[in-house]
């Protein structure tokens, strides 16, 4: 089974590496012994670390209350049932001289212990039904945001009025990636407080309005989850699910969540980060976004130097390609093809560009994720970083093929 154990091409013997890792794990254990729960105000969500977060929306409060009601109902039943059982185990033991009675079957008792649980269930079901019906009412939304899951990032598209046309991808942030790589190379576990719960581009939403999330996926099933909003919904390729949230004014802030449905290798590496801002702030952000977009278009038309392309390409490869094709470019045998010495990569430029733009098989289309400059840069890096083709690809060429 060792065939897939990660080997870090280092000269260290595997025993040595194992020992090192184990030591770092021991460090994790002692940190646990000494600093039990020191993380209160940052990190994933507003949970106290061992219970469901109460969250910030009306819906998340109702869910939390329902959760606590059922929890206490279970605790009460548990105390009753385990109490009787414990008493019996203590009292009715042979060593205490207990003589076995011979009673059995008592219709009255049996009816009672059927009816009482039934009544408890009805008491739970009533508020649950109420909350559920409310959650399913996705009508009368003020703004609509399309959320698309793909391996392993989220895409956000704004569908209404001024914000219409805003669309971007949200990837795991750079610092998390660096710390992840460090842990792979040296075994030192990450210490960054927002490790795996931070992204490069946050979803920005206004407070005080009903936001409808239209959730879908482009490849496999994902699940978009923000615990503090009480929002979790499967993202299913070919289907659009709707859910909603109203973040009350005054609750501006950063809310963190994660992908909740197994979606392949990097399932743990596609966090959800939402920043709730005031209405005015949101309007300003929308304006800025449109301006920045215009600048980027200018960028695509200029002539790039080889060096700039390589630098930008290496960076874009790291964020968009390395999850599958790996930092080494060698991919994973049988799942993700190598880009080193690949006929596809070193062959016709246009064909390579078309595959990046349109995707192929399990590889997703990057048409919307990367602009012309980024695609040209990635191609430059693929052909002249991993391989030695000795040519240059300009953004203007990609623009023409697109």
């Amino acid at each position: 089974m060792g065939i897939q154990m990660k080997n870090t091409k280092k000269t260290l013997s595997s025993v040595n590496i194992f020992a090192k890792r184990f030591v770092s794990s021991i460090i994790a254990i002692s940190s646990f012994l000494f600093a039990f729960n020191a993380y209160a105000n940052f990190g994933l969500n507003t949970s106290n670390g061992y219970n469901m977060p109460r969250g910030v929306t009306e819906m998340s409060h109702q869910i939390y209350d329902l959760h606590m009601i059922i929890f206490y109902v279970c605790v009460a039943i548990g105390i009753g049932v385990f109490g009787v059982m414990g008493y019996s185990m203590y009292k009715h033991r042979k060593s205490k001289g207990s003589k076995a009675a011979n009673f059995h079957e008592n219709i009255k008792v049996e009816i009672i212990w059927t009816i009482i649980p039934l009544i408890i269930l009805i008491i739970i079901a009533i508020p649950a039904t109420k909350v559920l019906i409310e959650r399913e009412d996705v009508s009368k939304a003020d703004i609509n945001i399309k959320v698309t899951g793909s391996q392993w990032k989220w895409r956000y598209e704004y569908m209404d009025s001024d914000a219409k046309g805003i669309s971007f991808f949200s990837n795991l942030d750079k610092r998390s990636r660096e710390q992840l790589q460090t842990s792979i190379d040296t075994g030192v576990s990450p210490s960054y407080e927002n490790y795996l719960v931070n992204v490069d581009n946050r979803l920005i939403v206004p407070t005080g309005v009903k936001i409808r999330f239209l959730i879908t996926a482009s490849d496999v099933i994902h699940s978009w989850w923000v615990p503090d909003f009480g929002v979790k919904q499967d993202a299913i390729p070919g289907f659009v699910n709707a859910t909603w949230a109203i973040i009350p004014p005054g609750k501006e802030g950063v809310y963190r969540g994660e992908c909740a449905e197994l979606c392949g290798k990097d399932h743990a590496y596609m966090p959800v980060v939402v920043e709730a801002v005031s209405q005015e702030e949101f309007t300003r952000w929308v304006g800025e976004f449109h301006n920045a977009k215009k600048d980027a278009q200018k960028n695509a038309n200029k002539e790039w130097t080889e060096k700039d392309l390589m630098t930008a390409g290496e960076q874009a490869y790291g964020s968009y390609c390395a999850a599958c094709h790996q930092a080494t470019g060698k991919g994973i045998e049988g799942i993700f093809p190598s880009v080193v010495d690949s006929a596809m990569v070193i062959g016709d430029k246009k064909e390579l560009a078309m595959q990046i733009l349109n995707g192929k098989g399990a590889m997703s289309a990057f048409r919307d994720q990367l602009d012309d400059a980024q695609i040209a840069a990635v191609m430059q890096f693929l052909r002249n970083g991993f391989n030695k083709v000795g040519d240059i690809t300009q953004p203007s060429e990609v623009k023409a093929w697109r």
């Binding site: 897939q4 194992f18 794990s25 460090i27 940190s31 646990f32 993380y39 990190g43 969500n45 670390g49 061992y50 059922i70 279970c74 385990f82 059982m85 019996s88 185990m89 009715h92 033991r93 042979k94 207990s98 076995a100 011979n102 009673f103 059995h104 079957e105 008592n106 649980p117 739970i124 079901a125 649950a128 559920l132 959650r135 992840l180 842990s183 792979i184 576990s189 210490s191 960054y192 490790y195 496999v220 699940s223 979790k232 499967d234 299913i236 390729p237 070919g238 994660e258 909740a260 197994l262 392949g264 290798k265 399932h267 743990a268 994973i332 045998e333 049988g334 799942i335 098989g361 399990a362």
Partner: protein
């Protein structure tokens, strides 16, 4: 008789005892031999799946990736699930049924002994096929034991086809086993034994066998559609081709939900045999236990979509599945109340089987509570696909199903081997396991509530504490199986000889009226009406 006890299994070798040598096990049609094969097979699978669990817990000892890459991590969780469900728990219960059902109904053997041989011998091949997927280019599938499309179709490595065929084989084996059990129970009961005279273990297995026959073909259908989607261009589960990935989940869970009861109903049966024995008191409500089992089995067919509340079902569907799901806690509660009423004013002793059975009742109930919580849809929005779910189903499957299996093995050990296990070691084993398993799984409730999704190879640092705790518990629990294996082997080889037919003084069922160790053929002459009546006295005396 003195010569008979000297040669453990060969006491009636003078006419038709077991064959000599290895071929005995290959060609055997004897229910006890096959039961033994099933039990050892499931134990090996338990250790294999357990080793994978240890690797999972090792990687989760610290945030970051220290030991495995995430693709391999996903393969581990997938294979751990498949091996434990299809390789460990289910075959262990079939093994127990093979040993116990004929003895408990006063029959000489299973009704279809050759098919019995075949249904076992398919298993090692299926397991080999399953595990060999690790060595296929691309590694073992990483789409979880639930194999949701399209991650398991378009996006899975070639080895998924190995897993699909392994599941087909496992399905054949299960269906044949189930047919055999139904045929045995309906046709081979001792003359004079009515259905309502049967011990509860037999009853629960009869109902389980019907569940198996009903749902294994459904699973076979689901994986066959996967196979054609993957290899022959169909689009059952691909929206791009007009199919529906959610349909896979509906079909899978139409199998999967009854499947979880397949793994727990026989456990109910075992607890219902052990608790009266050690409480020295008849089972409180025999008939209501039978009816509760049957109602759970019927309800299990109509609640499947509670595994998929977040796929975007219509509100009516969500409400219906919520009501139906929480309704199951009524018959389940009836069972728990019955066990407690059985203990009440009994004369209890706490030998190993009883310890395992009582902790089964308590810990299974904990899993039942979280099951009720998960059934409430709005709360499930937050619980769904988190470690809360992982904690829930490990409480019902490890401290539920596996606990009952271990309880049953200790309980019937003297009857099978003619020797007694080491009671002191068995008590140490119990306390070691029961403490470590809670250290392992209880913190996972907190992890899930605080927001850690399941099937994560890596996590953000605020989850470190509980993961470390859980891993420590996991390693300790894993180690308890070394002790368990030692106790079993020591007991078989050098345990104290048991002479009496019924080493547990108040055990009444029919397996305890034949000699110990049980002769190669259980009842060559059927038990007398008097024996049958005494065996089922807990049902009829007033």
């Amino acid at each position: 008789m003195s010569t008979a006890t000297a040669t453990t299994h060969n006491d009636d070798a003078h006419h038709h005892g077991p064959e000599k040598g290895l071929m005995r096990w290959v060609r055997t049609t004897n229910h006890k031999d096959i039961g033994t094969l099933y039990l050892w097979f499931s134990f090996i699978m338990l250790l294999t799946g357990g080793a994978m669990a240890m690797m999972i817990r090792l990687e989760l000892l610290a945030p970051g990736l220290q030991y495995v890459d995430p693709q391999f991590f996903n393969s581990l969780t997938t294979m751990h699930g498949l091996i434990m469900v299809f390789g460990a728990i289910m075959p262990a219960f079939v093994g127990l049924a093979n040993w116990q059902v004929p003895m408990m109904i006063g029959a000489p053997d299973m009704a279809l002994p050759r098919m019995n041989n075949w249904s076992f011998w398919i298993l090692p091949f299926a397991a080999t096929l399953l595990i060999s997927s690790f060595f296929v280019e691309g590694g073992a599938p990483g789409s979880g034991w639930t194999m949701y499309a399209p991650l398991s179709t378009t996006y899975a490595p070639k080895s998924m086809d190995f897993v699909i065929f392994a599941i087909h084989l496992l399905g054949f084996s299960s269906i044949m086993g189930a047919i055999n059990i139904i045929a045995t129970i309906t046709n081979m009961r001792a003359p004079g034994m009515r259905l309502m005279d049967m011990p509860l273990f037999v009853w629960t297995w009869l109902i389980t066998a019907f569940l198996l026959i009903a749902v294994m073909p459904v699973l076979a259908g689901a994986v066959t559609m996967m196979l054609t989607d993957r290899n022959f261009g169909t689009s059952f589960f691909s929206a791009a081709g007009g199919g529906d990935p959610v349909m896979f989940q509906h079909i899978f869970w139409f199998f999967g939900h009854p499947e979880v009861y397949i793994m727990i109903l026989p456990a109910f049966g075992i607890a219902s045999q052990i608790i009266p024995t050690f409480a020295r008191k008849p089972l409180f409500g025999y008939a209501s236990m039978v009816y509760a089992t049957a109602s759970i089995a019927i309800l299990s067919f109509v609640v499947w979509a509670h595994h998929m509340f977040l796929v975007g079902m219509p509100i009516e569907g969500q409400l219906y599945f919520m009501y139906a799901t929480i309704l199951i806690s009524v018959p389940t509660g009836i069972k728990v109340f019955n066990w407690i009423a059985t203990m009440w004013r009994g004369s209890m002793t706490f030998e190993a089987p009883m310890l395992w059975a009582l902790s089964f009742v308590i810990l299974f109930t904990v899993g039942g509570f979280t099951g009720l919580m998960l059934g409430v849809v709005p709360a499930d929005i937050q619980y769904h696909d988190t470690y809360f779910v992982v904690a829930h189903f490990h409480y019902v499957l490890v401290t539920g199903a596996l606990w009952a299996i271990i309880a049953g093995v200790y309980y019937w050990f003297p009857k099978w081997t003619g020797r007694m296990y080491d009671e002191k070691l068995a008590k140490i084993h119990f306390w070691w396991a029961v403490i470590s398993v809670n250290v392992l799984f209880f913190p996972q409730h907190f992890l899930g509530l605080a927001g850690m999704p399941r099937r994560y190879a890596d996590y953000s640092i605020q989850f470190t504490d509980f993961n470390v705790l859980s891993s420590i518990g996991g390693f300790a629990f894993g180690a308890s199986f070394i002790l368990y294996a030692y106790i079993l082997i020591k007991g078989i080889v050098a345990g104290k000889k048991v002479e009496e037919n019924a080493p547990w003084e108040s055990a009444t069922t029919l397996e305890w009226v034949i000699p110990t160790p049980a002769p190669y053929h259980s009842f060559e002459t059927p038990p007398t009406q008097e024996q049958i009546d005494r065996a089922s006295q807990h049902i009829h005396t007033h």
